[in-house]
Structure formats: structure tokens, C-alpha cells
């Protein structure tokens, strides 16, 4: 127990809390500038976020959080293995499309198998999209940032080209509604929270699996080693090139699943044919950074951003624009960069005192 309290995770959480606090202070300042008359109401609405709407609000938060937790996990996982996956928008959209396609067309799949297959295929599609930058980095030395950016556009345009040829609702310029079976199970959670996106169960599962892969397995050992030092990994006999590809594929799969989870949620959202990169993808970067790339951190960060997004939306009734939320998130992320430093500083002090602590322990023991 003591060990857990002293663990890095808790320190990370604490330092992130400081950043969030600073972000909210700035948010309050912005709110005061915008309209001091309603500042108190606006700010309280903002921070109470999803909670001000009861169980339904919690459902809203979860619905918002599910896709960005997955894209955040995608970016965070890649970060941990030394890669910057800025290709989540592309991976997200191809995953979304494949999930919808399966959801609409493959009606021969019985019961829950339908959505499960759709989500799995969404993950595979995302992983193929991630594989391209991975392969290009491993075998052609192409910087993954640039190839990921390019793959975003290729993914978006490809999907927009294919939708009108396949599962198209030409009246609304978007995809058709998916089959009832293709809607993710609510796992009975809707008894507690109405309209919940059952995808949260998949998201939490993904968080746990990624945590285990990274920290408990030999595979994670290899992936992280390659991230930290490709040369030393090569020396150790690890196939670094292969690991880069795997890492990007896993990251891509996570983003692809995120796309699937959003559009199979049964919330009545369809994928529109629009030449805009999926914002859920870019939001993943923010979530990953706020969560310090730690899988559980990403989970919390995703829920937090969703929470204040709802708050920001509710705040509009006092005449505030929802962009205030973006300002708060940006400032929080900015200061989370410093909180890392603060943590390091604290750690160093610990080290500085390590001898004293040891001595104390000895004198006690």
C-alpha cells in the first residue's frame, strides 16, 4: 500500500492536478474578461461539467470520453515506444469507416458477434494505416511525423471516396445507420446511466491491456527498449525495425477502435463525407500529454477533458463560448509540461535526502 502511494503514478497524478488547477484559474480569468456579471455561474457550471446533469450528464461525459481515450492511448502508447504518432486522425477515420461498413452490410453476423467483429476489423484497419508510417520509418528511415501527417489526408480522402460508393445516405451526405446488432452492448450499464456508450468497457479494457503490455510483458520490454535506444536494442538482439512496425500498428489499432466505438455507440451519429481531419484524432495528442502517456493517466485525462467539455457546453446558456474549454485545456497541457519538471525537482530532492532517510531508517531499525 505504502508502495502504491509512493509510486510514480501518484506523483504524476498530483503534479497533473497542479496543472489542471492552474488551467482552471486561467479559465476563470478568461471568463471574467468575457463577462464578469455571469462569471460565478459560468465558472461553476464549467467545473461541475457532467455532474450538473445527473446520471445523464455522466453518460454524456462517457460518450465524449470514449473515442478520445482510445486516440489518447494510441498517441501515448507510441510515445512510450519512442514514436510520435500524429496519424491518429487517419487511423481513426479508416477504423470508423470499416466499423460502419461491417455494421451496415454484414447483417449475417448474429447477435453481439456483429459489433465485436466490426470493432475488431476497425482495429485491423487502423493498424494497417499505422503500419505504413511504421514500415517507412523502419525500412526507409522516413520520419514518422511526416508520413503520419500524410497518411491522415490519404485516409480521409480514401474514406470520403469510398463512402458514396458503399454505405451512403445520399440525402444526408453521410453513412447509413448501422444494424441494431452492430451497436455496442451497453453491458447493463444503461440501468445506471441512460444512453451510455458501452464502448467505455472496451476503452477500459484497452487501457488495462496496454498497461500490461507495456509494463508486464517481454514484448513491452522490447518495445520500450527500442523507444529508448534503438542501438542498444539492436545490440541486445531485439529486432528494432519489426518493433517499430508493431508499435505503430498497435497505436493505429487503438485509434481505429476509437473510430469504431464512436460510430457504433448507437447515439445516432453517422460518419459525414467531409474533407476535415477527425478532431478526435488530434484531441488524442492532448489527452496523451495530459495523461503523461500513462494508460491510466490517459483514462483519467480523457474523462477530465470530456467532463469540462460538457461544462463548457452548458456554460453557453450564460453567453460564454465553448472555446473557453479549449483555452483551459491548452493552458493545463502547457503547465503539465512544467509539472513534469516539478516532479523531477522533487525526486532530486528525495535523492538528496536519500542518505538521511537511510540513516534514519537504520537508527530506527
Amino acid at each position: 500500500m505504502k508502495k502504491i502511494l509512493n509510486s510514480d503514478g501518484i506523483k504524476d497524478l498530483l503534479s497533473s492536478c497542479v496543472a489542471v488547477f492552474i488551467g482552471l484559474i486561467f479559465g476563470l480569468i478568461v471568463i471574467l474578461i468575457a463577462n464578469s456579471d455571469y462569471a460565478v455561474e459560468g465558472f461553476l457550471t464549467l467545473i461541475s461539467g457532467g455532474f450538473s446533469n445527473g446520471a445523464r450528464g455522466i453518460g454524456q461525459v462517457i460518450n465524449q470520453a470514449v473515442p478520445i481515450i482510445l486516440t489518447g492511448l494510441s498517441v501515448g502508447f507510441a510515445f512510450k515506444t519512442g514514436l510520435f504518432n500524429i496519424g491518429t486522425p487517419g487511423q481513426f477515420v479508416v477504423g470508423a469507416f470499416v466499423a460502419i461498413y461491417v455494421g451496415v452490410e454484414w447483417t449475417f453476423l448474429p447477435g453481439a458477434l456483429h459489433w465485436i467483429v466490426a470493432i475488431i476489423l476497425a482495429g485491423i484497419a487502423g493498424s494497417l494505416w499505422g503500419a505504413v508510417p511504421g514500415l517507412m520509418k523502419a525500412y526507409l528511415n522516413v520520419n514518422e511525423v511526416i508520413s503520419s501527417i500524410i497518411m491522415n489526408y490519404i485516409g480521409m480522402y480514401t474514406v470520403n471516396y469510398i463512402i458514396p460508393l458503399t454505405v451512403f445516405d445520399s440525402m444526408k451526405n453521410q453513412t447509413l445507420n448501422v444494424n441494431q446488432n452492430a451497436i455496442i452492448s451497453k453491458f447493463g450499464l444503461d440501468l445506471l446511466v441512460p444512453n451510455i456508450n458501452g464502448g467505455i468497457v472496451v476503452a477500459i479494457l484497452a487501457v488495462v491491456v496496454i498497461h500490461i503490455i507495456l509494463n508486464k510483458t517481454t514484448f513491452g520490454f522490447e518495445l520500450k527498449a527500442c523507444g529508448f535506444s534503438p542501438d542498444a536494442s539492436k545490440y541486445a538482439g531485439i529486432n528494432a525495425k519489426q518493433k517499430i512496425v508493431f508499435s505503430m500498428m498497435i497505436a493505429g489499432a487503438l485509434a481505429g477502435i476509437g473510430g469504431g466505438l464512436l460510430y457504433l455507440a448507437g447515439s445516432g451519429q453517422c460518419l459525414q463525407v467531409v474533407d476535415t481531419l477527425a478532431p478526435e484524432g488530434f484531441n488524442g495528442i492532448a489527452v496523451a500529454l495530459l495523461g503523461l502517456s500513462n494508460p491510466f493517466g490517459v483514462l483519467i485525462a480523457g474523462l477530465f477533458i470530456a467532463h469540462i467539455t460538457i461544462g463548457g457546453s452548458l456554460m453557453q446558456i450564460y453567453g460564454f463560448i465553448p472555446q473557453i474549454v479549449d483555452i483551459i485545456v491548452a493552458i493545463t497541457i502547457y503547465f503539465s509540461a512544467f509539472s513534469l519538471l516539478i516532479k523531477q525537482f522533487l525526486n532530486k530532492h528525495k535523492l538528496f535526502n536519500a542518505d538521511n532517510i537511510k540513516k534514519e531508517e537504520q537508527s530506527h531499525g
Binding site: 478568461v30 520520419n143 480522402y157 463560448i321 472555446q323 483555452i327 485545456v329 491548452a330 509540461a337
Partner: protein, 317 residues
């Protein structure tokens, strides 16, 4: 021929802002600071420049107005980038983090301020800056058609920035010192160069240029600005890498990509392409696939500055 000249002339719309912003990124990365915030800086630069134009365009000479707007865009970009610089240079924060924060902040901030000032988020402007024809020069065959007809001073500004960038980086004391900070800051430090100062300089120059790039990007493409530069900041980052962190290659990359984008969006006005009957989305994808293919061939030896992304820590050896 006429069509080709037209395409080349239109290429400037894509290539010049990409070039200016990528050169901005070049200064930053050559000094050792990764600047992923180019997109956000473009937004801020464009916003401030356009706001100035919005208020002043009726009351002053268009070209003077544009020049002042460019300066304002640059300075605004520079001030905004200061936050990235402080975080990544003095506070040694992760450069991706502060860059991302800036990218999220910029559009939200612009919308917020625009609404505060004028109740709507779009800032309107009139494009009065186009120069129909530059006497004498416009009659030069080919070049005259591409560069000196229906043009903006920003086109020349872009080319000028390219030449100046190259000159500064490779021909001046400042450039030599800046580059050394991106490769081996310890060397610079022990040679008595203030690495922090150089990195501030590099990063702030990148903010200045990206701010200008944002304005240059928006001017010819619309009649109002809506806190968005459509991902071109990220594309500029791609151009920077594509150009292997070297000014002339960056120019090559910007014009290559710009030309591909031009064909992709202008083909429907050209009989030859129209007669091919190729679907629209094929054209839209082509510039990206072409870039990816070129990258596959040219990336074997990456020329990324060795110390980019690493905060400089005097103590660390």
C-alpha cells in the same frame, strides 16, 4: 503552355506560405527546438494581421497596409511563440507538449477575442493587395507570367525570405552559431556562445515567419478569416522534414507539394485533365501519395539537427 503558366502562377498560393512557415520551422529546429506549434502560430499571425487589415484597409494605401499587417502578423506570431520558447528553453519542458498546447490555444483564443471585439468569430477583409501587373518585369516571357502578373508582394517576400534565410544560416556568424546550437549545444557553450539566447532567437524567428506565413496563407484564399489554417502548419512541418532541414530543398519541397496541390484542385478547369475522367478524389490524394513516394527514396540519410528536441542542460554531458 498557357495552362502550365497558370498552374505555376497558382502554385504560389500553396507554396509561398508553406515555404515561409517551413523556413520558420527551420530556424527553430536548427537552433535545437522542435516547433510543432507552427499551425497555432499561423492562426495567431493571420488573426492579428487580418484584424489590422479589417480596421485599416479603407484608410490607407493597400501595399503599405499589407506591409504593416505582415509586420503585425510576424510580431504577434513571435510574441505567441515566446511561450513555447520559455517552456522549451528555460524550463526544459517537453517541446511536443508546449507546442501542442499552443496549437489548441490559438484558434480558441482567436474566436474568443474576435467575439469579444466584434460579436462574430469571422474577421472580414477585402483583398485589395493584388498587383495586377508589374511594369516591364511582367513582359518577361514565362517568368513574367508566373511571378509578375496578378501577384502579391507576399510572393516576393517569400522568395526574399528564402534567400535571406539561406544567407543568414550559411553566410553569417549568427547562422553558424545558431546551427551549432542545434547540433551540439555543448560545443557552442564551450565556445562562449549563449545557447539559450541562440535558441530564443531561432524559436522567435520561427514565430515571426510562421505568423507571416499565416497571413500570407489566408489573404488570397478568402474574404474572411475564421481562426483556421486548414492544417497547413502541419503540412509546413512535413515540408521542413521533406526538405531535409535545408533552405533550398525546403523551397523545392514546398514548390513540389504546392504544384501537386495546384494540379489537384485546378484540374477541373483544364480540358486535358478533365478529359481523362479521373475521379476528383484521385486528384485530391495524389499530392500526398507523391510526397510519400518521394520521401521513401530520399530519406535514407536523415539530416535532422542532432540536438533538436533536447533541452539544453549545461550540467549534462
Amino acid at each position: 503552355m498557357d495552362d502550365i503558366l497558370f498552374l505555376l502562377s497558382q502554385t504560389m498560393i500553396f507554396a509561398i506560405p508553406l515555404l515561409i512557415v517551413a523556413l520558420g520551422g527551420l530556424f527553430s529546429e536548427r537552433s535545437g527546438v522542435i516547433n510543432i506549434a507552427l499551425e497555432g502560430i499561423m492562426v495567431i499571425g493571420a488573426f492579428c494581421g487580418i484584424f489590422f487589415i479589417h480596421f485599416m484597409q479603407d484608410s490607407m494605401n493597400p501595399q503599405l497596409c499589407l506591409i504593416i499587417a505582415i509586420l503585425i502578423a510576424g510580431v504577434a506570431g513571435m510574441i505567441f511563440t515566446l511561450f513555447h520558447a520559455i517552456a522549451s528553453i528555460h524550463l526544459k519542458a517537453d517541446q511536443t507538449i508546449s507546442g501542442t498546447a499552443l496549437n489548441i490555444f490559438a484558434p480558441a483564443f482567436c474566436i474568443f477575442v474576435a467575439r469579444l471585439i466584434q460579436q462574430t468569430q469571422q474577421v472580414e477583409f477585402t483583398d485589395v493587395f493584388r498587383i495586377k501587373e508589374i511594369p516591364i518585369l511582367s513582359s518577361i516571357p514565362i517568368i513574367g507570367d508566373i511571378l509578375f502578373k496578378n501577384t502579391y508582394i507576399t510572393t516576393f517576400l517569400g522568395i526574399l525570405i528564402l534567400i535571406i534565410s539561406w544567407f543568414i544560416l550559411y553566410k553569417t556568424k549568427f547562422g553558424l552559431r545558431l546551427r551549432s546550437c542545434g547540433e551540439l549545444p555543448q560545443a557552442a557553450d564551450s565556445a562562449g556562445i549563449n545557447v539559450y539566447k541562440m535558441r530564443y532567437a531561432g524559436t522567435l524567428i520561427s514565430g515571426f515567419l510562421a505568423g507571416i506565413g499565416g497571413l500570407v496563407f489566408v489573404l488570397p484564399t478568402s474574404t474572411n478569416f475564421n481562426a483556421d489554417v486548414a492544417g497547413y502548419g502541419f503540412l509546413a512541418l512535413a515540408v521542413l522534414i521533406f526538405g531535409q532541414w535545408k533552405p533550398w530543398r525546403i523551397a523545392g519541397a514546398a514548390f513540389f507539394f504546392g504544384f501537386m496541390k495546384t494540379i489537384a484542385s485546378a484540374y477541373s478547369g483544364i480540358d486535358f485533365f478533365l478529359s481523362l475522367g479521373i475521379p476528383n478524389y484521385f486528384y485530391k490524394i495524389t499530392p500526398y501519395i507523391a510526397t510519400l513516394l518521394v520521401l521513401a527514396f530520399v530519406s535514407k540519410n536523415s539530416a535532422a539537427p542532432k540536438a533538436e528536441g533536447e533541452p539544453y542542460d549545461k550540467g549534462k554531458r
